[in-house]
């Protein structure tokens, strides 16, 4: 779609005639519209276009026989660069158990991801344990216990109304059972809910997780920057997970979240089965956003 549009803008040139500012302006406008329709945040798209325009003007696009394709190449590279830096693997440094805290908005796919991650790490030879620290959602603990049974991995849970204590006791249980990875499932919450954000900060300060992963729904629209930005400010995330990418959303939220947090996207969820978890590949994803 975008490729055709850009080819269309430049096809009147066909090897002769000079590329004008108008050509570039038209191209930028089309790119911007395409990014916005892909759910890239308005401000992130603006900054992204500015960097593209700069590169396009600097890159001798005017001399190219196929300026449209040249610009696409610049966009593609710039997007991969933006999406891709940083270590996308789980950090297993420090004394075991390595603690991974999972957080995010309601319904984004955290509980499912916790179980998928446990399965993934078990396949890598780790001994994971999960902690059911969502004390609010009806049957949240039942849900994680059921998933734990499906993948035959332990879930620590207790009948209490104190999420911090549950995590603390879960850590104790992990040490006693020699689990070497501990994954904390937390309740979905709004970034503007001060009490709930404080709960996460308390868990972080007491349990000291090695990884704090923000799980975001891949079809999130413009609000992605608000939630991700707030979670980053409050918790200093170590990574991002994008779920439900087996849908047909173009996933511009990935660019927005990456731009606003500066943190690496580590995994994407690609379905409801426990095996539907993939490490994140920036180049594949860039093609998807561009549509």
């Amino acid at each position: 779609q975008l490729r055709d549009n850009l080819d269309g803008i430049f096809k009147s040139l066909r090897g002769q005639g000079k590329i004008t500012d108008k050509h570039i302006a038209d191209a930028m406008r089309d790119i911007r519209r395409s990014l916005l329709e892909a759910d890239v945040n308005y401000t992130v798209a603006k900054d992204f276009i500015a960097s593209i325009r700069e590169k396009a003007l600097g890159a001798q696009v005017i001399r190219s026989i196929t300026p449209g394709q040249q610009i696409i190449k610049i966009i593609h590279e710039q997007m991969i660069e933006l999406l891709g830096e940083g270590n996308a693997a789980i950090d297993f440094g420090g004394l075991p158990p390595v603690i991974i805290m999972v957080a995010g908005l309601q319904g984004s796919g955290k509980t499912t991801f916790v179980a998928k991650l446990a399965q993934y790490l078990k396949n890598q030879g780790k001994r994971p344990m999960m902690v059911a620290a969502d004390i609010y959602r009806p049957a949240a603990i039942d849900q994680l216990i059921a998933l734990g049974k499906q993948i035959a991995l332990p879930v620590y849970s207790e009948n209490s109304n104190n999420a911090v204590a549950i995590c603390r006791n879960g850590l104790k249980s992990a040490r006693e059972s020699q689990a070497n990875v501990l994954i904390l499932d937390t309740a979905g919450r709004l970034h503007i809910d001060e009490n709930m954000m404080n709960e996460l900060k308390q868990i972080k300060s007491e349990i000291k997780p090695r990884e704090i992963l923000f799980v975001a729904d891949g079809m999130t629209g413009q609000d992605a920057v608000n939630a991700a930005g707030a979670f980053e400010n409050e918790l200093q995330l170590t990574g991002i997970v994008l779920t439900k990418m087996d849908g047909d959303t173009r996933g511009g939220a990935a660019l927005s979240i990456r731009a606003v947090t500066g943190k690496p996207i580590k995994f994407i969820g690609t379905g409801e089965k426990m095996s539907d978890l993939e490490p994140f590949f920036p180049d594949r994803f860039a093609s998807r956003i561009l549509g």
């Binding site: 401000t43 319904g107 609000d223 849908g247 047909d248 409801e272």
Partner: protein, 278 residues
Amino acid sequence: FGRESKVSDDFLDELEAFLFQSDLGTDSTDRLMEAIIAASRKKKIQNYEDVVKILNSELGKIFFKDELEIPIEKTSPFVIMVIGVNGAGKTTTIGKLAYRYRKEGKKVLIVAGDTYRAAAVEQLEKWAERAAVEIFKNAAAKNPSGLIFDGIQSGLAKKMDLIIVDTAGRLHNRTQLMDELTKIDRTIKKLIPDAPHEALLVLDGTVGQNGLVQAQEFQKAVPITGLVITKLDGTAKGGIVIAIKEKLNIPVKFIGLGEKIEDLKAFDPELYLRGMFA
């Protein structure tokens, strides 16, 4: 958001950015901006309140008060089917709806039609308990159509006023799952030809342009009579419902404003707009 009295280009740019960041999408944003620009040319915009007035009148052309009603009284049992993608808030919304109508004196039955996801039935059971309504479930059932058939039958036998059917979350690009939804719809019609009397598509308030695709695709599987947009107690504005109404003519019937049982409001376009600008 600048609240200046003169309509400058800066003001228009800011307004456009604001509408766009509310997830209206490019087309609906363009259309509303045209109305604002036309009004400002006719000098009809002196201040910020005028902008809200224009947008209100535009929204008033898109949403109509009468189509927001759910005529529970018109038949018994009235059947509401609740559908949508994973995690949108279907099960929670059903708890809220059951509570609302039970408080109005209706005999409500919830049918636990999500036979797939871990602890889905337990979650809905908890909501039925909170709403003080009956629930039909079958832990052994694997086939949702079969279970929902039995549930509707039970609702008929018990002379329920209202039956609300929960379904498993599903992505609209999964053909098999969308076919399953069509099968559920046909199954319901075997018992009650006009049912479901209401098919509500639940959208996550944070959804972007994919929300429009969801509405398009779910509509093909089951005729949708209304939307519920959830999680508007967050910072998302849910503007995709404007695009959906303009393009598909599907009205919003309820908005979800939290995780408690009372956190459901009937959709009011004016209040919605005020909330957007809040």
